[in-house]
């Protein structure tokens, strides 16, 4: 039975529409105009217990709004929603004890006190016995590689340390469902990897269900076998990450710095030219042809520097929706 179920979920916000300048300000003061903003439109999906699902989409696509709806932070304008057997907007105690929502750098830790003080508060709020709380803090701190940081004021911690302490605070009550909105935002590569590893370990050891948004493709590839793709409030894809990647990016991007400018005709033999700016070149090459094409490039052209990369998910999604075709992609059979 699904632990998260959304059917025809909708959320509309009423936002003030203000034109710039003095005239706009006066009009806004006397005759305020409002417009309806459809942040989430008829979104439906189910998540089974223990699944780790990535929630993808550009800025303003509706990811965070959906997470807020799922966590009961905001009320839906329509549709059905059930999480851990509860209707989230009722925010019953059983529901609140079953979930957690971590929102990037928005913190619940008390800024001027050490994280341990905030953890004491959380333990009391969730009615966790002192001994149990101490044991859980020790376990989670070990997994997150947190030690002395727990007794230093939060304001003195680095961003990465704060994020790890934030996760510890959010997981102290052992939630069964984790909603994570950009949990690695702004962290350096090492800290990102540690948070990622922690989430994988936590999922494995507790069987918790995770729904995660991230702008870092590495988070999604490391953690999420399944992804949901949302754009302008609509769900466009629900299925395996590998299938989505193949569909969106059936190529790798190769950046070249050449010793001298080469003509487009000459470069076209190696792959599709994405950008040609003097001696700086960006080529798109399919994964099957990649090894051979790289060999050829290195032997046949005066290559000074070369980089192969998967395009960022933002870019892939951007390309998908700039094609003009925004029909939902076929769903994978689940």
């Amino acid at each position: 039975m699904a632990i998260v179920m959304a059917r025809g979920l909708r959320k509309t916000f009423r936002v003030a529409d203000k034109q710039p300048g003095l005239a706009g300000t006066l009009r806004h003061l006397v005759n305020r105009r409002w417009q309806e903003l459809e942040a989430v439109r008829e979104v439906s999906f189910c998540i089974e217990p223990g699944e780790v699902v990535g929630f993808l989409g550009g800025n303003g696509a509706g990811k965070t709004t959906t997470l807020k709806l799922l966590s009961g932070l905001i009320h839906p304008s329509g549709g059905e929603l059930e999480v851990a057997g509860h209707r989230p907007s009722r925010r019953q105690r059983g529901f609140l004890e079953a979930i957690t929502l971590v929102m990037g750098q928005k913190q619940q830790l008390i800024w001027d006190l050490p994280p341990l003080d905030s953890l004491r508060v959380n333990a009391a709020v969730y009615g966790i016995d002192d001994r149990v709380a101490r044991r859980r803090i020790a376990e989670l701190a070990e997994m997150l590689e947190l030690g002395e940081e727990l007794t230093r004021p939060v304001r003195k911690l680095s961003l990465g340390q704060r994020m790890k302490a934030e996760l510890l605070a959010a997981l102290l009550h052992r939630p069964r469902v984790l909603f994570l909105d950009e949990p690695t935002l702004g962290l350096d590569v090492n800290a990102q990897a540690r948070v990622r590893q922690f989430l994988a370990d936590y999922n494995r050891s507790t069987g918790a269900t995770v729904l995660l948004t991230s702008h870092y493709m590495a988070d999604i590839t490391a953690l999420c076998p399944r992804v949901l793709l949302i754009h302008q409030g609509r769900l466009f894809y629900d299925g395996a990450l590998a299938a989505l990647r193949e569909r969106l990016a059936p190529w790798r991007e190769v950046r070249l710095e050449l010793g001298q400018p080469i003509s487009a005709a000459q470069l076209g033999r190696y792959g599709e030219i994405e950008q040609l700016d003097g001696a700086a070149v960006r080529l798109l090459i399919s994964p099957e042809r990649l090894t051979g094409a790289l060999n050829q490039l290195l032997t046949e052209l005066p290559v000074l520097d070369l980089e192969v990369r998967e395009p960022p998910i933002e870019e892939l999604i951007g390309r998908l929706f700039h094609r003009g075709s925004v029909e939902p992609l076929p769903q994978q059979q689940r």
Binding site: S71, R91, L101, K106, D112, L113, V125
Partner: protein, 272 residues
Amino acid sequence: MRGPRLPTWLRRHGVLWSVQFAYMAEYRVEIALWALSGVLPFIMLAVWSTAAVPDLGLSSAALGRYFLSAFVVRQFTVVWVVWQFEEDSIQGRLSPYLLQPLHPLWRYVAAHQAEQATRLPFVMLIITVFFLLQPASFGWPGVPRLLLGLLAVGLAFAINFLLQSLIACLCFWTERASALERLLTIPYLFLSGLVAPLQAFPPPLQHLALHTPFPYLIAFPAQLLAAEPMGAGQVFSLAGGFAAMGLWIALLLPLLVLLWRRGVRRYGAMGA
């Protein structure tokens, strides 16, 4: 051997209070300044002592005790929930509070009580200095009056907190609920007894004031602590004062619950 286990709600409030106290202690200098900034009753005492004023039926010592009591009551009934709630709402800090199985307003209650505890040494110091400078004003209200006075201070804090929380709830509709709080400052200052004892008011204004919650925020608890006479021919009667406080709490509490429920439905979790 373990002692008796505290009820969960009390243990929870104890932890919240102690952590908030630690937080407030970080800002003890600021709190000392806040405490010192509440000297309006002493300024008013100076004004009322020197100006040609109508006979209030209070001796100079009693007037001194009243304004000192008003200062003490004010120190323990100060409520800043509107400002904090507004900031938390705008900054997105309210969202994690809403997702925990504890009503967010309890956090603010604990924060206020922790702040009151940090104010206590400064208040004691000011009381001591006051009686050293005006020994004639010294008077012991007696244990029953003192206990009733302390109860009235607690109830005054409760009324003020409920009133301000109602305004704070408007943050769910408008981001700047503190503007309304500023509007309330004027009737609060004049009708609460902070600027003048209620005896100084013309009878119609006194009558009007007694139908608002404001006199019960300062004047009634202050008169209790100052051991002023109550009952027939006086502004307050003991039973009437406590009954009015109970009524205001009974009126404001369900209003707050209702407004909170409606507000939370509108909450857009901005900044979060």
